[in-house]
Amino acid sequence: MFWEEEKALIVADLHFGKTGHFRKSGIAIPQTVYKEDLQRLIHQIQHFQPEKIIIAGDLFHSTENKELEMFQKWRKDFSLLKIHLIKGNHDILSDDWYQNAGIEVHQQGWIVQDFCFCHDLIDSSLMTHHSSLYSFSGHIHPAIHLNGMSKQSLRFPCFYFAKKYAVLPAFSRFTGTHLIKPEKGEIVFAIAAEKIIQVT
């Protein structure tokens, strides 16, 4: 998601280093997933030319591993880009690590203009303090379920815009999803194959 005014690319739940974490434990997940997630991010950066990236939590999956070295190398290639990370439950690296990687970390959430960015809506105290703000979050990896005639059904990851908040889909392809049940008036964009389709 791109915010033109702020020239900010907004993403959530990248879970970098997840494949590496599994592999380190002797579980053979192909690393190509990670590579392609990273390439997709680079592609978006090249396309939108943002000044900053706002990450609504879970940039990294777990503790340090060699895959994060690859991230650091990539980071050097885009050294002008600002990265704002709102800490998610998976972001458990040391503060020094983020500093070295040139990532500005926001603990609870981060307010920019009329918007609040956080990781998990339910945990965020900022949201209750600033109830007038519209929030962007991640964490749940939302997906939508569609039913049709003759008992057909489909499921897609989605962007979920409620009245007071929005939830972003997980950027990483190597994550599960959680079904949401939108209420009337809420807007959902399903990610169907290569297209984004508004479904409510």
Partner: protein, 841 residues
């Protein structure tokens, strides 16, 4: 060269002991003993509860006594003599007790040990210091033994490996585990050019006994013998009929309507077992029987795979000593332990196969000459037809085979890791051992190298950014040295993969059982459900445990377990089609007679089976609105309802073949026009449902069931993907790609949790030639689609008459399929178009 059994000391000792018990050996036991003292291997074919344990165990004693005629009573610590592999933990205690009795009566110094998941660490340590002469073990624990350093030493004195209930293991991955373990034990002995090891299987009657024997003793490169216990049991089958067949539900019921007919049967007999096909249904039955006959409280019990282990043991114990009057159970009581007090067995719903039905019938009348009596209670009316088919199959002795599995990469990967954590393995030596097993005999060197590459390098990787580590190469051996990886592997050994389960506990403490996470995740606090026969109110989930409290609510939800729905066996399907033939010819005879008799007199039938007679009105209705197909006909019905356009097809081949056929047919139709289907199936037929008319008619129907391009069409119909996805979870857990977590310690490993479907998608996209992925597909082809059965069916259809009808109403045949809720999708429409159609216009 062989010594006649009768002349040996051991034989006399054993016969004296038997005589002191007023018993004498059976012929099949004597035959087996003779083979054992000759050093032969083979298979004993005997039903449960007629001395099959003794045939091998006493043989081992005779051999030992013969070798030590003077001092057999005094020799201690002889090392492991007999390794007894049993599929069921619950059986171990009974077997050990029986063996100990003999040993102490003979005043011998043999130790009998049990090794399984319930064995505590102190006992294990004791066994490690001094291995008992007999070790009773499960296939999983046997592999754990192979994960111990210096395991080869344990087997150096071993004389006999006995595999109990081999028919249950054969045809499953646990059977493959047994094959691998045998290959390794034989391998440890080969290095010493030792050929004194014997392998003996014990199996109930199955269609392929010869093959069952060969699979077991393959690594010995011997021919082996089969000893049959000639004890034919008479089986009597009686159906429980609804009073009015017209009013009995066509589908979607659990047979509860017939409960009033069940109660008298229970009250009349000493102990009754009621076999129910699913755990959910058994919960409901338990409640309903208690409601209908409150007097049974205290002597009624429930036994299924999700009931707490301790409670299950209690039930088994009390069945044994005759304290229970009725037990509602699932396949969990199919195996093993003989419950002598059981007089009556009731089967609710289709047993799906002849062998299974016979085995359940055999649970009653447990002495050799007693007739086994089994009642059959249909859950919907058409099931009565199955009984007729079953009776026919029993009288014609058509019993299913258990087909052994081939080339299970997942089990092999697990096994290699197991060897790598104990003493390490030399790839060349192990390769030789593995291709000596039945399962892997077709494996090529290239496939072997791919497996080794997979576990040592972890598939596709980003070279310098990778820290994959599992196997390490040291002293010409592959080893796993990382202790955490080794520990995790030990926890994961086994091939039984359950759905992710949550424990269910009372808030006040006390364990109830386990339940699928999928089910509990849909409950709201305050919802009431039943488990283990109790009515419980869901409170909350905490630390992977569902907390509940007692409820007095009258209404409750019955959990649905996703596990095992058995398909109809090919044999039973064949008999069903033949049965319809009978129905058809009887119908025409009756018609003629009626015409002669001027129709007003009710038909006099010569139906061979009451079941068919009872169903007559139903068949008549079917014939009236559509058609009753004969053996050489295939019926297709096209019906329009408010749900859309239905196409029903009835090959009577079992749900798995139907699922595959539905997908193929849907795919072939979808090439004619852009269309989306959902489909459903049961054991009799399948349904395609669409929101637009389905273009199937006389002009194209034979083409649609053609054998041409079958393999291509299977692969292209996305359903093979869906089916592979379901298989993949098992394969991935066994192959070590999905870590199930330590019991009670799930939290620590959370960053390693992963769902199978996600992993499946990721691998399909990024590593399509992944070994485990490929295995899921070949499992689908071989087992799920039953490729050969599918081809047979299409060939049969090509040579039969296809009859398409357009009934104005739902027919008795289609109804059970229509209400089946298991559905799949197949579409040739664009995703966008499908979404657009689903959105409110």
């Amino acid at each position: 060269m062989s010594l006649p059994l009768e002349n040996t000391v051991g034989y006399r000792v054993i016969c004296d002991w038997l005589a002191s018990q007023q018993r004498q050996p059976f012929l099949f036991q004597q035959k087996t003993w003779q083979h054992i003292i000759n050093g032969e291997s083979g298979l004993v074919n005997a039903p449960t509860g007629c001395g099959k344990t003794y045939s091998i165990f006493l043989g081992a004693l005779i051999q030992f006594i013969n070798q030590h005629p003077e001092e057999y009573k005094n020799i201690k610590n002889s090392g492991l003599q007999l390794l007894w592999v049993t599929p069921l933990r619950a059986l171990a205690k009974d077997i050990a007790r029986a063996m100990e009795e003999v040993v102490s009566a003979l005043d011998m110094k043999w130790g009998i040990g049990i090794r399984n998941g319930d064995t505590d660490t102190a006992e294990r340590a004791r066994q490690k210091r001094q291995i008992p002469e007999v070790l009773i073990i499960t296939p999983e624990s046997l592999h754990l033994l192979l994960a111990q350093k210096g395991y080869a030493e344990l087997f150096s004195s071993l004389k006999i490996i006995a595999i109990d209930e081999w028919h249950e293991l054969l045809g499953s991955k646990r059977g493959v585990q047994v094959e691998l373990a045998i290959s390794r034990i034989v391998g440890t002995r080969h290095t010493n050019h030792d050929s004194t090891l014997m392998i003996w299987g014990i199996s109930a009657t199955i269609g392929n006994l010869e093959e069952a024997k060969d699979v077991l003793i393959n690594p010995l490169v011997k021919k082996g013998v089969i000893v049959k216990a000639d004890m034919k049991k008479a089986v009597e089958v009686e159906s429980i009929f609804p009073d009015e067949i017209e009013k009995y539900p066509w589908a979607g019921h659990l047979g509860i309507k017939l409960i009033d007919k069940v109660i008298p049967i229970i009250l009349q007999s000493k102990t009754t077992l009621i076999f129910i096909n699913t755990r959910g249904m058994s919960e409901t039955w338990y409640q309903k029987i208690l409601d209908a006959c409150p007097d049974l409280a205290g002597v009624i019990a429930l036994h299924h795979g999700s009931v707490d282990m301790e409670l299950r043991n209690w039930v088994e114990e009390n069945l044994h000593n005759g304290k229970l009057k009725v037990v509602i159970c699932t396949a969990s009581l199919d195996l093993g332990v003989d419950f002598r007090p059981v007089e009556t067995v009731i089967q609710v719903g289709s047993p799906k196969g002849v062998a299974r039905f016979l085995q359940r019938a055999g649970r009653s009348g447990h002495s050799f000459d007693a007739t086994s009596k089994i009642y059959f209670l249909p859950t919907h009316s058409l099931e009565l037809m199955e009984v007729a088919a079953l009776k026919k199959a029993i009288s014609e002795k058509i019993i299913e085979s258990r087909v052994p599995m081939l080339l299970c990469y997942d089990v092999l990967i697990q096994y290699l890791s197991t060897l790598a954590i104990s003493d390490g393995f030399s790839p060349d030596k192990i390769f030789e051992e593995i291709i000596a097993t039945h399962c892997y005999k077709e494996m090529t060197k290239e496939e072997w190298e791919r497996i080794i590459y997979f576990i040592s390098s972890g598939g596709n990787a980003l070279q310098q950014y990778d820290d994959y580590k599992k196997l390490e190469w040291e002293d010409e051996l592959f080893k796993i040295k990382n202790r955490r990886i080794a520990m995790r592997h030990r926890m994961n050994i086994g091939t039984i993969v359950s759905e992710s389960m949550l424990k269910v506990k009372f808030i006040s403490g006390g364990y109830v059982g386990v339940i699928e996470e999928y089910f509990i995740s849909r409950l709201q606090p305050g919802d009431v459900f039943t488990l283990a026969g109790r009515i419980l109110e869901f409170v909350t989930i905490k630390d992977m445990t569902a907390l509940v409290k007692k409820s007095s609510s009258k209404k409750s939800i019955v959990p649905s377990w996703q596990g095992g729905r058995m398909p109809l066996s090919a044999n039973l399907g064949f008999m069903l089609r033949k049965t319809l033939n009978t129905v058809k010819s009887e119908m025409s005879i009756i018609k003629q007679k009626n015409r002669k008799a001027n129709a007003s007199i009710s038909p006099v039938s010569h139906f061979m089976f009451h079941e068919l007679e009872a169903l007559f009105p139903l068949f008549e209705l079917q014939q009236q609105v559509s058609h009753v197909p004969k053996e050489n006909e295939l019926l297709i019905e096209q019906i329009e309802t408010k749900d859309g356009f239905h196409l029903f097809v009835y090959p009577f081949e079992g749900r798995l073949v139907h699922e595959a056929m539905a997908a193929i047919l849907a795919y072939r139709i979808s090439r004619i026009t852009s269309i989306t289907f959902s489909f459903a199936m049961n054991d009799y037929g399948f349904e395609l449902l669409s929101d637009q008319p389905i273009p199937v008619d006389d002009s194209n129907v034979y083409e649609l069931f053609s054998l041409e391009n079958l393999m291509n069409d299977i692969q292209r119909s996305i359903n093979s993907t869906e089916m592979a996805k379901r298989k993949f979870r098992n394969v991935a857990v066994i192959g070590g790609l999905i870590f199930q977590g330590f019991p009670g310690e799930q939290k620590k490993a959370r960053h390693l949790q992963n769902s199978a479907s996600l992993l499946f998608n990721v691998l399909s996209e990024y590593e399509p030639d992944n070994l485990l992925l490929r295995q899921s597909y070949s499992e689908v082809l071989e087992q799920q689609m039953e490729e050969s059965r599918l081809m047979d069916m299409l060939w049969r259809i090509q040579n039969s008459k296809i009859i398409i009808t357009f009934p104005q109403q739902l027919t008795p045949f289609c109804f059970p399929i229509k209400v089946d809720s298991l559905r799949e999708d197949l579409s040739s429409e664009k995703l966008e178009d499908r979404i657009r159609k689903m959105l409110p216009q």
